[in-house]
């Protein structure tokens, strides 16, 4: 009787340890943290149709002035305002809400190969941004772990980019935070965004974007090259 009780308790204990070790979960891990590696599709709050809610955007006078200019340019398809129209990358954060991504996680950084009109993105696990770095379309991203949450901090984003496809501008003060968590089944990344830009917006704003895991064994799901080619410059095909 006592032996049987020990057996039952032992089995329960083993099951608990197995569960804590992640063996009962499909969530992939690397060095004690979730492993986000894999092929992903932007799934929630994705694409050009998703814009910031105008009524909720509390802008500074400078923000309102710039927004009027940018929105008018977007509405008339002006490539000097909506520079994606002349094949410039849409930049961050817009490129974090488009299409397919191949995420490669390593010990010291994460690399993201996006499909959509943009350069790759690298996020090093470090505490400081690059010193005296240039403004770039994808900005300068660093990452840190808060438990199982990956916090990605991006600044230094090229000012010509827009925050969304309706024309919201940003300044050199745009600060973009993504908090990534991986679902227990390993199939979904939830990315909680916080954006601040004191020159343009009076308050921070938030958005949640999700990514779904794609089947990388399916050739059609993989990255398809997207080099911007057939664009008109000065009335002629480039």
């Amino acid at each position: 009787m006592r032996f049987r009780k020990l057996m039952v308790e032992g089995a329960a204990c083993a099951a608990l340890i197995y569960g804590l070790a992640g063996g009962a979960s499909a969530q992939p891990m690397m060095n004690g943290h979730p492993d986000f590696s894999g092929l992903w599709q932007c799934r929630t709050n994705c694409g050009n149709g998703v814009t910031l809610p105008r009524a909720q955007m509390d802008m500074t006078p400078e923000g309102e002035r710039l927004y009027a200019i940018k929105k008018a340019g977007v509405d008339r398809g002006d490539p000097t305002i909506d520079t994606g129209l002349m094949c410039h990358p849409l930049g961050i954060p817009r490129l974090a809400m488009f299409g397919t991504f191949d995420i490669l996680q390593k010990d010291d950084h994460i690399a993201i190969l996006g499909e959509w009109l943009g350069p790759g993105r690298e996020i090093y696990f470090q505490n400081q941004h690059r010193k005296d770095y240039f403004p770039t379309f994808m900005g300068d991203s660093i990452g840190r772990w808060e438990g199982n949450t990956l916090v990605i901090d991006t600044n230094n984003i090229e000012e010509e980019t827009l925050v969304d496809s309706s024309g919201f501008p940003h300044s050199d003060q745009l600060h973009f935070i993504e908090r990534w968590t991986l679902s227990p089944d390993g199939k979904t990344i939830t990315s909680d965004w916080t954006l601040t830009d004191p020159k343009i917006f009076r308050a921070q704003f938030k958005r949640t974007v999700t990514y779904s895991r794609k089947d990388a064994t399916d050739e059609k799901q993989r990255i398809v090259e997207n080099v911007c080619q057939n664009v008109e410059v000065g009335g002629k095909l480039r």
Binding site: G47, R76, P79, D82, W116, L117, I223, N226, Q229, N230
Partner: protein, 130 residues
């Protein structure tokens, strides 16, 4: 090979234009998303390129004159995943094209769907409006 159905003011202005070069700009602002046009014709050329595919078609107008219509679709990745391949639509094919017309009446539009000669119907794939 005739214009089958056009809504809105495109009817006259579109048919009066005899030809046009392929439109290259890929802003979707130039298309009227509230209207649709359907034409049948012969594919003149296909530019399988990013950011968006362009399909030029020869469509006969009411005077039985050939008119080149230019249609913009989505990006290659989106098309590929929707079933398009490099041979899905090619020069010489007879197709039916349904599209959002160009606002200024230039013959062409943003692809909504393409019906191939074998009856297959394909969407435009995602693009700027993804």
């Amino acid at each position: 090979m005739v214009v089958r159905h056009i809504t809105g003011p495109l009817l006259l202005s579109g048919l009066l234009v005899s030809s046009t070069a392929a439109l290259a700009h890929h802003s979707f602002a130039m298309f009227d998303q509230t209207k649709s046009v359907t034409v049948e014709g012969i594919v003149k050329s296909v530019d399988y390129a990013n950011p968006h595919v362009w399909v030029d078609m020869t469509v006969m107008n009411a005077q039985n004159q050939p008119v080149t219509w230019s249609f913009e679709g989505g990006n290659l990745g989106g098309l590929y995943r929707m079933g398009w391949t490099k041979d899905t639509v090619k020069a010489g094919d007879k197709v039916k094209m349904e599209a959002h017309p160009i606002k200024d009446g230039t013959p062409g539009g943003q692809i909504m769907r393409v019906t191939l000669a074998d009856g297959r119907v394909l969407g435009r794939g995602p693009g700027a409006a993804q």
